[in-house]
Each structure stands twice: as C-alpha cells, then as structure tokens.
Chain length 469, copies 2
C-alpha cells in the first residue's frame, strides 16, 4: 500500500525523532495480535506521544489516503489490530501514563497505552479497585479494552469496560478531537457518542484519553467450586445463589477441561467426586452471616440434587487455587491446537444451545473432543475443540471451518452473538450477518462514513468492504 | 403543517377504528408535557397497537413529509414530547403490556407504553426490583424513560435507565425495524446502536419494545439524614460513607428547602438542630454489623465537625418520613413559581460550582431566594429560584433568562452538563453548544440524517434546525 519512502519521511516529521520504525522485526511485532491467521505486513509503525501528534497523523493519512491500524497490547483474538495490507500502525506504547486521579469522583484519567494491570495496581494503591479483569490484563491496554469493550471474569457483577468509561477523548477519522461526556455521571445532552467509540475496534477514530471509574475494593472474596450431575443443573444453582448473594463471578467448565488442568500437576483437585460439570462462583463474604448463607444455599442445592460435591475457600491461598482450575484452562488446552469460538446467548437458552452444538459436532465428527468453559452468568460460552492426535492440522482446521458455519447458524437460531467479547475484527467480519441484520449493518456503515469518510481507520475490520465515501 | 383532512383519513386507515383523535381536548392533552412554555398544536393523535402499525405510520409520514412526535407519559421537563407545530403525535398508550418475563435472565419484555410504576410492581411481584425511580414514576412510560435516559434518586447505586436496557426494538425514521442487542449481556459485534437510541429523545426513531433488566430486591433499606455546618462538609461525608457502604442514594437539600417542606405541616422534622445543609443517604442494612458501621461513620463525621446532628431510620415508616423531606421539595416549592434548572458537574467540582452560581445570582438579584437540592452523589444539582412575593411573573422570568445565561456559562466553565437528566428537547436546544462542541453537534446531525433522512422524527428537538437531508 505505502511503498514510497518519501511518505515515510513525511510521517517522521509528525512525531519525535526515532518514533517511526520500519525494520522487519518491528513490522512483524507490531503488525499482529494474538491471532495467527493473517501475516503481518505493515508499512511502518508510528509512536505518537501526544494528542496533537495523533491528530497530525490522522490528517496526514487523510491527505495521503493511508490506512491506519491502532495498536495497543496486541492481545486481541479477532485480528482487529492486525496490519496485513501495508497500513501504518499507530502504537500507543508511549502514551502510557495515568495523568490524573480524582478521589471524590473515584476516577483516573488514562492515556490509551496504560496497561490494564497498571490501572488495577494504581487503583489498589489508592485503596480502590478497577474491576475489569481477564487473562491478558498484564499486557492489554486501556485503549484496546475500550475499542473491544473488553469483558472478562467479573462481568456478572461489574459489567463490561463500557460501564467504567466516564469520559473519552477521541480523534475521529476526520481528525477532529472530541471530548465525550466530560466524566459526568448524568449528562442528557443528545446522543452519547462515547458509546459509539466503545467497541468500535478503532474503525471510527482513535481513543487518545479515557477517564476510567474506580470502585471500592471487594471484601473477603470467597469462592465455591461445585460439581453438578449434568449441565442443566448449573442453571438452578446460578438462580439459587443469585437470589441470596451478589455474585462477583459465576464460571463453569466441563470435566474434560478439569482433567487437562489437573494433568499439569501443579493445581490440587477441588474434591474427590468426579462430576461432568463444575461451577465456580465467587462472592464477598463481608460478614460471617453472608458466608453462612452461602453454605446454606450450597446445602440446599445438594438436597435438590443439583450439586454432587463442593468446596468453599477458607483462605486467600485456597481462593487462588480454586480460580486456577478455571484460569489455567485456556493455556493448558493450547497444546492441543484447539479450534476456539467465543459466543453468547441469553442465560436461559444456554443449556439447549450447548446441547445442540454438542449434538451437531458429535454426529459429524465423533472423534472431536469438545471442551466447554466460560462465563455462564453472562451467557458467554467459550467453545473449544481439540485436534485429535494424529490428525493433520490442515484437515482439522478444514473440518472446523464447517463447524464454524454450524455454530453460527445455531447462534442465529438462538438469537445470540457470534462474538461475545473478542470482537469482530477480520476473523468474524464475514459472519457478521449471523448476528446483525442487513439494515443494522447499513446503519453502521453510514455511521462509519460520518466519522471516517475516507475509510482510513482500520479498514477491513468489522466490515468486509470500505464504506462508500 | 397538516391541515388536509384527506391526510387524516389516510392516517385512519393505518390503525384500528377510533385510534386517531383530532378533537380539541385530545390535541391539547397529548400535545404537551409538563413544561408550560409552548402551546400544544398537533394535527392529530394516533394510537398504534402494534409494531407493524408504527412502521406503517412512519412510512406514511415519510411519503407525506409529516412530522411525528412520540408521546409517552408526558411528564418530560424539556418539551421533548411537545407538538407545537402541527405534528402528528404518536401515543403509545395502547402498547402498554409486559409481554414476557424471564426469571433466569431477570428480564421483562415491555411495550413502550408500560408505566414505570407498573414495571416496578411487576418486578416486585416476581420477587425482583426495577431500580430506576423518580417523582413521575406513576405516569412516565418506559419508552419515554429510554428516550430521555431517565435517572432519578437511585443512580449512585444503580445507574441511569441506560444500564437496564438489555435489548431494544426500534422503528427508525426510515421505517426499518431494528432488533438491537437481542437482550445479551455480552455482544461484541460492532457498534452498539442500542446506545444511540437511549437518550435520543425520539429524534432517530421510536422505541417499540424494550427488554428491561431487573435486580434482586434491596434488603432493609435504611436512611440517615445529617445536618452539616456548610455545603463543603457534605463532600467528606459522602466520601466517608462511600468508603464503608454501598450507598443506594446520596441526596442533599438546603435549609430553605427544608423550611418549605416542614411548613406543610405533614412531615416531622428530622431533628431539632437547625443546619444550613442536609444530606440524605440510604444503604442496605443487610446485617446488624452494617448498621453499626453506618453509626460509627456518622460519629466519625460528627467528631470531624462535618456533621452537627443526624438521625437514622429504625423502621419502614421512619424511612418513608425521612424520604419525604427530600421528595416533597419539588411539589412544595411549585407554589412559588420557581425558575428551575437541572445541571451537573463532576462531584469534586460541586462545591465551587454551587458557590459561584450563588454569588452571581446574589450579586445581581439579592431579592431572589435560591433553593438547592439534588442528587449530589451523581454531581446532579437542581437549581430553583423562587419568585419574590410581589414581583410580576413576566419581570421574574425576564430576569431568569439572564440567570440562565450565567448558569450555562458557569456550567461550561466547569465542564459540566446543561441538562443532567431532563434532556434537551426544545427548552435547551438553543444552549446545546454550552455542553457539546460544534464538531460533536455536526456528528450528531450526521447520525440523525442516517436514521431519519427526511427529518420527520421529532423535528426541532435537541437541534434547532432540521439536518440536511
């Protein structure tokens, strides 16, 4: 796309010396995220250090018809931050400061390159809490979290990233700097444009500053792991606990997932009884009474036959160990080259949906091992299919392409989402119509055209084609 | 605008018999909301009973270039639902059913004409809770709540209406039916168009169905009313209590407001000490320990000199009585023909902002009595100025027009909102640029043009001019 060295020289004048890289290593590193399907091929990586520099880059890109790709922690799972077509990657690695803290409003003003764990630590140092948390928190950046509306393991209590964005500064595809919502709790002055930029995957503009809300720290977090006789029993267990407690998490995983994690040898089994499914739930045991309520509900679930065995953490160490049963799954099964899909339906539909996927895959590919886990309290399922030993990768992924179609057709039938929390990017753009109607997609493209008339902002992400200018 | 009786006859063919009204009483009733500035002058009132009928009306209005005004409970305070220019009013009074309940997802599918209190009662009957609450809950409708992103007295804990909308069906200005977000908790498939319609005041389309989230019921709600020696002391009190408890409300009012309410004779004084300002806060006293924590914090605030006196409710009756001190203010002071304004700043800026307004008004109009109250935990202040006895209404409102300008200039200086929760409608459209930049307004108009290219949806609301088609 951009081979002219004169253009690179122009770009260099817009930022500080040394802040444009074109060496092969940098292009390869900054041109990709955690997905592997697309070969990185950017023209250059640029590192702005101020909002003004971002604006200059966007204005220059408009004049020169250069495509820009935003780059945060590059932990995305939908190739939304992959530059595979000669784009210029705009990395926010040097805009990584927490600029301001406001204790009365409980907010922190962040540059987009602030790492999630950095904000979590900052909050803790202030006696507060940033509750959005997920496996990649150690490297994902706030700007990227906002671009994908990141979710994770505490959504049932705290919601998605969207809930924690008090205000946003963005540079639109036209180069305008907008200051959206001004960190207010109540602001009824027309369309809340802030909401459009959350989850837009950088296709409307760049987030250049974000005021994030913080929360009081949770007290005495306590986890239970419960084994159930079948998947259906997980639902009344969720219902029973939600009636009594404000849950901070409600996760599930299958015995197949547990066996793999226990096979590592560094995590103790939760209890002796083998069960086909497990629920992990967490709550604040603020008082003795609260903990007793949890135990009473547990006993009630056992009496009802919904739970076969269970354990409740009695210390921070036990809490951590129970969480490892869930958190280690993804990494552990990665050795089996899994096909992965991140989908959601409403909570009530989860059991029927899961059974239907199991049946379709089992009928056609009986040798495929399906590992389910996910955030069941949000209706968010992570479907993982392990490559059978001895099957070639190509054959496996060929078969998985068929599975993909079945999964999305079933998602559509159940009125669910083809991407619960990973985004659309390039990996799911060709399937968007399974979740969004033709009319919706047309309105989305019209909005894109209003903010980015020249189609320079992360083109080819979310939508297959550039919107008409 | 629409004087042709043939058009009325066309309109009648789109709905059930008797569901178009043109008598003077109906035009007057359905043509206005709680604001008084604009004389109602609609051409007709139409009452659709189905989504299909709404679509027919919108398509017809596009063909005939007829302006439509949505009408809910008509309790708005910004004239967003006023038809002053021959528009056809679309009332949702006959689309007022709760269609579906889902206990596992804790959602209720509502038609737009469901009254807020009806949903609150429905939730209670199911052992759940709909937490958005405000003075007009007995007549405001869900569709209108969504159109204005209604807030109210529990925002500090539960957020605005926005937080409770799981899914929306809307008919856009082009007549398309969109099913937005499908009631999912996690859905990362492009722009969240649902968010655009929340707070759009009917300028992009009509909400024709909404899936609302419900919550577990609060336990043993308990209120404290605390008297403070000055306004500034309210802030550390908020801070101290928020550190220890999840507050469900944090309101404030001045002695001037209290005196007026006590003057009614039907509400007992909270305690004997006279104080210039009062805070009302509420929390769930789920356990004995929690109530003791509240008392200890109260004592700490007294020791620090932030609180002069206070009382904590010990029964449901006492809780109700304490709330009356706050809830009766608006109705009580209405006898003084007050100038009202609903504004917000970030919480930390509240004291300086309030003092600056007091100073400006006091300097120019020393005979004006200013009554402050509001949702201070959200930075939302209700400014009320009472008409001095003996001053003519015209003179008073003439002077208040000047006050308006000072208030909005001060709001702009403090980076606040000219409308915290009442919306823009017609009453604040000419002041929009005090809160939103020229570029933001241009993007809003472009979005409006995408959803409503012929400008038939509630024209003249939010924006002064019709967007270019």
């Amino acid at each position: 796309m951009m081979t002219d060295p004169a253009l690179i020289d122009e770009l260099k004048t817009l930022v500080e010396p040394g802040k444009v890289l074109t060496d092969a290593d940098s292009l390869n590193t900054y041109g990709k995220d955690w997905t592997k399907q697309f070969a990185p091929a950017p023209s250059a990586i640029v590192f702005p250090k101020s909002i003004e520099q971002v604006q200059s880059i966007v204005r220059w890109a408009n004049e020169r018809a250069i495509a820009l790709v935003p780059s945060g922690g590059r932990t995305g799972l939908s190739a939304a931050a992959v530059a595979a077509n000669g784009e210029v990657v705009v990395s926010f690695d040097y805009m990584n400061q927490i600029l301001e803290f406001n204790g009365m409003d409980r907010t922190a003003v962040c540059q987009p390159g602030v790492v999630t764990a950095q904000l979590q630590q900052f909050a803790e140092d202030k006696g507060l809490y940033y509750p959005v948390d997920f496996a990649s928190a150690g490297s994902s950046q706030i700007g990227g979290n906002i671009g994908t509306n990141a979710g994770g393991i505490k959504v049932i209590r705290y919601g998605m990233t969207r809930n924690w964005v008090a205000g946003l500064k963005v540079v639109t595809g036209k180069g305008d700097l907008l200051e959206l919502n001004k960190d207010l709790i109540k602001n009824a002055t027309g369309y809340d444009l802030r909401q459009l930029f959350i989850g837009a995957e950088g296709t409307l503009g760049f987030v250049v500053e974000a005021t994030m809300r913080l929360e009081r720290q949770p007290t005495n977090l306590t986890a239970l792991v419960l084994g159930t006789p079948d998947f259906d029993s997980i639902m009344p267990v969720l219902h029973a606990f939600q009636d009594k407690l404000d849950l901070t998490a409600f996760e599930f995983f299958s015995d197949k997932a547990l066996v793999k994690v226990l096979g590592r040898g560094d995590v103790p089994a939760p209890f002796e009884t083998d069960c086909p499914f497990y629920a992990l739930l967490e709550f604040e045991a603020t008082t003795e009474e609260r903990a007793e309520q949890a135990l009473a509900t547990f006993e009630h679930c056992v009496e009802q036959g919904w739970v076969l065995d269970g354990v409740m953490s009695q210390s921070e160490q036990q809490l951590q160990n129970l969480w490892k049963l869930r958190e280690y799954i993804s990494e552990t099964i990665s050795h089996w080259t899994p096909y992965k899909n991140d989908i959601s339906v409403t909570i009530a539909k989860v059991p029927a949906f899961l059974k239907e996927i199991d049946a379709i895959v089992g009928e056609h590919y009986p040798d495929f091992e399906i590992v389910w886990f996910g955030h069941i309290g949000d209706g968010n399922l992570h479907l993982n299919i392990l490559k059978p030993d001895g099957m070639e990768k190509d054959e496996f992924f060929g078969k998985c392409a068929t599975v993909n179609k079945w999964v999305f057709e079933t998602v559509q039938k159940y009125n669910g989402s083809i991407s619960a929390e990973h985004g659309v990017g390039m990996t799911k753009r060709d399937y968007l119509e399974y979740s969004r109607s033709e009319a919706e997609i047309a309105y989305m493209k019209a909005i894109k055209a209003a903010f980015d008339p020249n189609g320079i902002m992360n083109p080819g992400k979310i939508f297959s084609l550039k919107p008409e200018a």
